[in-house]
Subunit: 219 residues, 2 copies
C-alpha cells in the first residue's frame, strides 16, 4: 500500500488531514505543494485535484481523494481504529456540525485565493483584509464556544474523552488564527482548554505547521 499526502505547512485543510493520519497511525509520504508559489496551479497537480486546492490524498491505485472533510470521513471508514466520530447518528451529526462551523462557515473565507481576490480584484487594503480574516475566524470561535459550552456532551475533547474530527478542525482553525494575527484563545474558555488538551498529544504536535519539513525549509 502506498499512501501519499499532498500538503503545505500553512494550509489549514492540509493540517486537518495531517492530524488524522497520525491519529490513525498512518505514515503517508508527504509531497509538498507551495501555495505561496502557486504550485497548486500546475497542470500536473490539476490532474490530481480539479479544484487546484490542498490537500490531496492518494491511497494505492484508484482516483486521488480530495476535500479535507471527505478525506477525514474516508480515513475513518477505511482505517476504523481509533474512531474519529462517535457511534450514534445524532452524536455524529453534532461532531460533524462542530467541524463544519469552522471548516465550512469560516475557513473558506480566509484561504489564499479569496485573500488574493480581495486584494487584486476589489483593491481592499491590507488592514481591511486583516480585519476580514479576524472577523470570520472570530465568528467561528464564537459559534463553536457557544455550541460547546451548552453541551453536556462536551468533555476534555469537543465530544467526550477522545479526539474527533471536531477537535481536528478546532486545532487547525485556532492555529491559523494564532499564526495570522496572534489570536487570544483565552476569550473562549472551553475552546482554549480543549486546544491545550489536544496540543499535548503527539498526533497534534507532529502535524503542526511549524513541525513540517517544508516550513523548516523556508525558515
Amino acid at each position: 500500500m502506498t499512501l501519499q499526502l499532498y500538503t503545505w505547512w500553512r494550509s489549514q485543510a492540509s493540517f486537518r488531514v495531517r492530524i488524522a493520519v497520525r491519529l490513525k497511525g498512518l505514515e503517508p509520504e508527504m509531497i509538498f505543494v507551495d501555495l505561496a508559489r502557486d504550485e497548486q496551479l500546475s497542470s500536473g497537480y490539476r490532474e490530481l485535484n480539479a479544484g487546484m486546492v490542498l490537500p490531496t490524498l492518494r491511497d494505492g491505485e484508484g482516483p486521488p481523494l480530495v476535500q479535507s472533510l471527505a478525506i477525514l470521513e474516508y480515513l475513518d471508514e477505511q482505517y476504523p481504529e481509533p474512531p474519529l466520530l462517535p457511534k450514534n447518528p445524532r452524536s455524529r451529526a453534532h461532531v460533524r456540525a462542530l467541524a463544519q462551523v469552522l471548516a465550512v462557515d469560516s475557513h473558506p473565507l480566509i484561504v489564499p485565493r479569496v485573500r488574493k481576490y480581495l486584494a487584486e480584484e476589489l483593491h481592499v487594503e491590507e488592514a481591511a483584509r486583516m480585519n476580514w480574516l479576524k472577523h470570520w475566524l472570530e465568528a467561528g470561535f464564537q459559534t463553536f464556544e457557544h455550541m460547546l459550552s451548552r453541551q453536556t456532551r462536551t468533555g476534555n475533547f469537543c465530544y467526550g474523552e477522545v479526539p474527533t474530527i471536531a477537535d481536528i478542525c478546532l486545532v487547525a482553525h485556532a492555529t491559523s488564527a494564532q499564526m495570522l494575527y496572534g489570536a487570544d484563545l483565552q476569550r473562549y474558555p472551553t475552546v482554549a482548554e480543549i486546544f491545550q488538551t489536544c496540543m499535548d498529544l503527539d498526533a497534534f504536535i507532529g502535524a503542526h505547521p511549524h513541525q513540517q519539513p517544508d516550513a523548516l525549509a523556508t525558515a
Copy 2:
C-alpha cells in the same frame, strides 16, 4: 416523532435539506426564518442554532441538528432508504468531495452575511459584488464539471444512476446561480444534463425555492 425544518426559500443550504427529506419520504413541519428580515438573529433562533444560520432540523426530543452537510449525513444514517451515498469508502469520498466542492469551496462565499460585509464594511459596489458572486459560483461549476467529465463513475446522476448528496448540492448551487444572475448551465454540459435529470424528479421539484410557501407569500 416530530420532525421540524427551519428553512427559508432562498437559502441554498435549506434547499439541500428540503430535497433530502423528500427523497427519504419524510414530511417535516416547515418553519420559516426570513433571512432578508434578519429573523435568524432572534434570541429564540440562536438557542437552536448558535451560528444563527439556516437550516436547523429538529427530530423528536434532543438537541437540534445544524449544518446542512451534517444534516444530510444524519438523515442518511437515521433513515437509510433510499441511500444518499454509495456503499464503499472510496466512492463515498468521491461523492462527498463533489458535494464539498460546491458546499464548502463556493457557497460560503456568497451567503447573505458575506455579501453584507462586502457592502457595509468594505464598501464594495453592487456591480463588483455581483462579479464576486459569479466568480465563486462559476469556479464551483468549473471544478465540478472537470471532476464529473473525467470519471467513469459519472452516470445519469453525479455518481451512477441514483441521486446522492452530490446531486443535491449541485441542484442547490445551480439554482442559486440561476436566481442570482441567470447562469448559463450549458457551458457545463455534464452539469447541465444531470441538473435536468434531477429536475424531472418530484423530490427536487417540490423542494425548489419557487415552490415554497414562504416564497409564494412574498411574491
